[in-house]
């Protein structure tokens, strides 16, 4: 009872924190309802991207691993939401500490109220900005699961995404987007998360895939997608949600938002076509999986640049992005021999890196006067800045991921045993089966022969 009382008191205290904060901020700037509604809707559709990613990856897995694959994305909705509210948001966007990390002043969303915070978004409630950023923080670690799928033990994966969000995502988000962050001060452009979301998740994915090792039987056994329609559904949800991801990053509803929306669509379409064209040339047939992979590659590639470039530049960025990702997935991966199960690095790492560099090439003040000119508009310095941001993100992703995996491996095994991999992670990690056509049994506690009468909890002997 004592413990219960302590828990209730702790919860009551936490629940009062935002209320106290709202009271303090009573005289802050006015909220624009149009902007607010757009950002909340954007947050909702960005949230839908994570289940979309789950289906995208789930369809690509073998059927004995589909539930585990989906779970690895879906669980991020639970873990990271809470992490973000407790301290993640404060580390990312809280008051600056040495240009490197946010302070813990906003711990438990203290001071994050319903009035706008003009440092980040002057026309929407601070909590709307916070929750919009939350859904980015959720999907980013989930992307990594695509590279270690079908072989990483679930407990180790849980520890990994929590620590990764804390020690890699939160600092890098602060560097690029936080007020006082050193890359933001340097002038690095990342409109919607090419660096923060795609480079660090993609590069970490490659490191994790190599650290955990190849799937048992990789290169010898058939490891083909078990349900491509599921993958197409997932990719379609990603595309849909990406409008919230990119257009929502303008933090309001207006002209810039419209430009971002259009750029997102055009780059995605161009990348889809380019992947299919190059695949057709190389393999003789245009595939559906190629079309959806190209679309995702285009979405990744345009993400950092979407608010800084013209429509025609977006098409070029998308088209080249489609080729780069196709090359890295279809050719480079085979040559180098690593097992990135569902190409988290090939698409997000490579596409994000290209997008960050392309921003330095194609950015134009004519498109967005709050941005900067890139190489093609007479400002080569911007490319240098983008390269510094890219190199820093690669470095922190490589080193940080190695350290985290090493630390976790001291406490629990990272890799599922050969036996567990053969049986499938759905059953060995979760005790569930996705497809039950060939399963026969009975519920405990019910005697099926006696018309379903309860008989206690005996296990039926067979």
């Amino acid at each position: 009872m004592k413990i219960l009382r302590v828990i209730i008191m702790a919860l009551s205290f936490l629940m009062t924190l935002p209320v106290l904060a709202w009271a303090e901020e009573a005289a802050a700037p006015a909220v624009d309802t149009g902007d607010t509604s757009f950002i909340l809707i954007s947050a909702a559709i960005v949230l839908l991207m994570t289940p979309g990613l789950a289906l995208f990856y789930g369809g690509l897995s073998r059927k004995k691993n589909v539930l585990n694959t989906i779970m690895c994305s879906f669980i991020a909705l639970g873990i990271i939401s809470i992490q973000w509210a407790f301290y993640g948001y404060s580390l990312s966007f809280g008051p600056d500490v040495g240009h490197f990390i946010g302070s813990l002043d906003w711990l438990g969303l203290k001071g994050v109220g319903l009035e706008p915070n003009p440092d980040y978004a002057a026309t929407i409630p601070h909590q709307a900005f916070m929750v919009f950023q939350m859904v980015f923080a959720i999907i980013t670690p989930a992307i990594i699961s695509g590279s270690v799928a079908e072989r990483m033990r679930f407990p180790a994966y849980l520890a990994f995404i929590l620590l990764w969000a804390t020690f890699i995502y939160d600092p890098v988000a602060h560097w690029v987007w936080g007020v006082g962050g050193w890359l933001r001060n340097l002038g690095a452009l990342d409109f919607a998360g090419g660096t923060v979301v795609h480079i660090i998740s993609g590069v970490s994915a490659l490191v994790a895939a190599m650290y955990v090792g190849k799937r048992k039987g990789y290169g010898r056994e058939l490891m083909i997608p078990h349900n491509l329609p599921m993958t197409v559904l997932g990719a379609s949800l990603l595309w849909f949600g990406w409008f919230g991801f990119n257009a929502g990053s303008s933090l309001g509803a207006g002209s810039l938002t419209t430009m971002v929306f259009v750029n997102t669509q055009l780059a995605t379409a161009a990348a889809m076509l380019s992947w299919v064209i190059f695949e057709w040339i190389r393999h003789g047939k245009p595939t559906l999986l190629g079309a959806v992979s190209g679309a995702v590659a285009g979405l990744v590639a345009i993400t950092p640049a979407c608010g800084f470039v013209t429509s025609m530049s977006a098409i070029i960025i998308g088209f080249i992005g489609g080729f780069i990702c196709f090359f890295s997935v279809a050719i480079m991966k085979a040559k180098l021999g690593y097992d990135d199960s569902f190409d988290a690095f090939g698409v997000h790492g490579m596409g994000g890196t290209w997008g960050a560099i392309a921003t330095g090439l194609f950015a134009s003040k004519a498109a967005n006067e709050l941005g900067n000119d890139g190489v093609f508009y007479g400002n080569p310095d911007q490319l240098v800045t983008q390269l510094i941001a890219t190199a820093a993100s690669w470095a922190v992703a490589v080193v940080g991921t190695l350290v985290l995996l090493k630390v976790i491996s001291l406490f629990t095994k990272l890799r599922a045993s050969d036996e567990e991999q053969e049986t499938g992670l759905d059953f060995t990690q979760h005790g569930e089966d996705a497809y039950t056509e060939f399963v026969s049994g009975s519920p405990f506690g019910v005697d099926m022969t006696a018309g379903g009468a309860p008989v206690g909890a005996e296990k039926p002997a067979f």
Binding site: R220, E419, E422, G431, F438, G441, S442, P443, F444, G445
Partner: protein
């Protein structure tokens, strides 16, 4: 000729297939089946309700081989399919009177 019929864990299909192929067996028939032996099945939990899964998905592999190879192939399959845990399956061997290759009309061992 002997028909060797193996009831295996689905997860072991690849290693068994690889092993018998390496030995030189080319014809193989695989069927998805459900069944049980000595084991009592396993438990799945869906929303708090426990289920005893007592007829388990298995793979049935059938091959027909010359009599002289029977012992060796059974040893190979046993090795490839064994985990040491309950539920590894069974192997049955029984005599075959004849075999016919439909395309050419060949019979007996020439047809397998």
């Amino acid at each position: 000729m002997t028909k060797v019929e193996c009831i295996l864990r689905p997860a072991k299909l690849e290693s068994v297939k690889e092993a018998v192929n390496k030995f030189g067996v080319h014809g193989i028939t695989v069927t998805q089946v459900i069944g049980c032996g000595l084991q009592k099945g396993h438990t799945n939990v869906y929303r708090g309700q426990e289920y005893s899964i007592n007829l388990l998905p298995k793979i049935k592999v059938e091959i027909v081989i010359p009599d002289k190879d029977v012992e060796e192939i059974i040893r190979i399959i046993t090795e490839a399919a064994r985990t040491g845990d309950i539920g590894d399956g069974k192997i049955f061997a029984y005599r075959i009177d004849n075999a016919v290759r439909i395309r050419t009309g060949e019979t007996g061992e020439n047809a397998i």
